[in-house]
Symmetry: C2
DNA sequence: TCCTTTTGGTTGTACCTTCAACTATTACGG
DNA sequence: CCGTAATAGTTGAAGGTACAACCAAAAGGA
């Protein structure tokens, strides 16, 4: 019971902490940041919308709206996928690249401060296993991000 | 890094799972449910708005809006606090009590299914400590819920 | 080949959360 | 006491997310 209440509290509070740091320092939500980060690590900094949705654990409608807003700010650009005319590719622009580069240190510091650095190395390992088990239960078919596959 | 990516995924996905079960079966968001649950366990099923906000890890404006909507549905009622004329008390109505009673089993089952039952007893203990440490970092002054105090 | 289904994605609406502004009451310092 | 600050709470607007409906292209089957 305590475990669940605490986890519920983390679920409620942690996103707010991340969001407000990023919004204050970069006018980005945590989800915006995550989208840019996933693109920045992709080959050619380009990803199909579906793949990007998977990696960011988002639904396609949500991603579509977010990418549109990022596109309006010239952080990302969209173009039709050559191989599949149904698909859309999202690519990080030069501006977007600068943005993520400038924003990453502060965000990483925030994550360290509130999560990583308050845990022992053993706890980090435990957390990896625990979240892995939960994700497997939440997303049994592995439709979503593969970061948590054992 | 893996630990953080997985935790971020849980942060993103788990709330959606809880919300959709509750919305489907009871037309309640997880936060709505939590508000009703905290009231149901309080003495006289009554709590001051500030206290309720603490226990639900919410800001006062958010809680105020939510309680108003719950009040419109006659699940909760508000009345001025006798001891402090600034304060407002929220009390669970009979209807609200029935609602939470009827809804709890399904919700508990969902939580078990996606969190509790996929973890070993040792992992539950570990999770309690880990979330405790994170909450202490997120909320150093202990302004919020006391459920996670050691 | 043609028709149906599935996949990929966008759009509009409704709802919820956040933020800032505002009111009312209590507590505090001189 | 009086004036100021702090506390308790509400409200309205702005922005983000979810859901459903929708369109277009590709895949599959007869």
């Amino acid at each position: 019971m305590t475990a669940w209440l605490r986890l519920a509290a983390v679920l409620e509070l942690l996103p707010g902490v991340l969001d407000s740091q990023l919004r204050r320092d970069a006018e980005l939500s945590h989800f915006d940041y995550f989208v840019l980060a996933m693109l920045s690590e992709a080959p050619k900094r380009t990803l199909r919308m579906t793949a990007l949705a998977q990696q960011t654990n988002a639904t396609l409608p949500r991603l579509s709206h977010v990418v549109k807003r990022l596109e309006d700010r010239s952080l990302v650009e969209r173009f039709p996928c050559p191989e599949d005319a149904r698909a859309t590719n999202a690519r990080l622009t030069a501006t977007g690249w600068k943005k993520i580069k400038a924003t990453a240190p502060g965000h990483v510091e925030t994550v360290r401060q509130h999560v990583i650095d308050v845990l022992t190395p053993e706890q980090i390992t435990q957390l990896t296993d625990i979240t892995g088990a939960i994700l497997e239960a939440v997303d049994p078919e592995g439709k979503l991000s593969s970061v948590y596959r054992r």
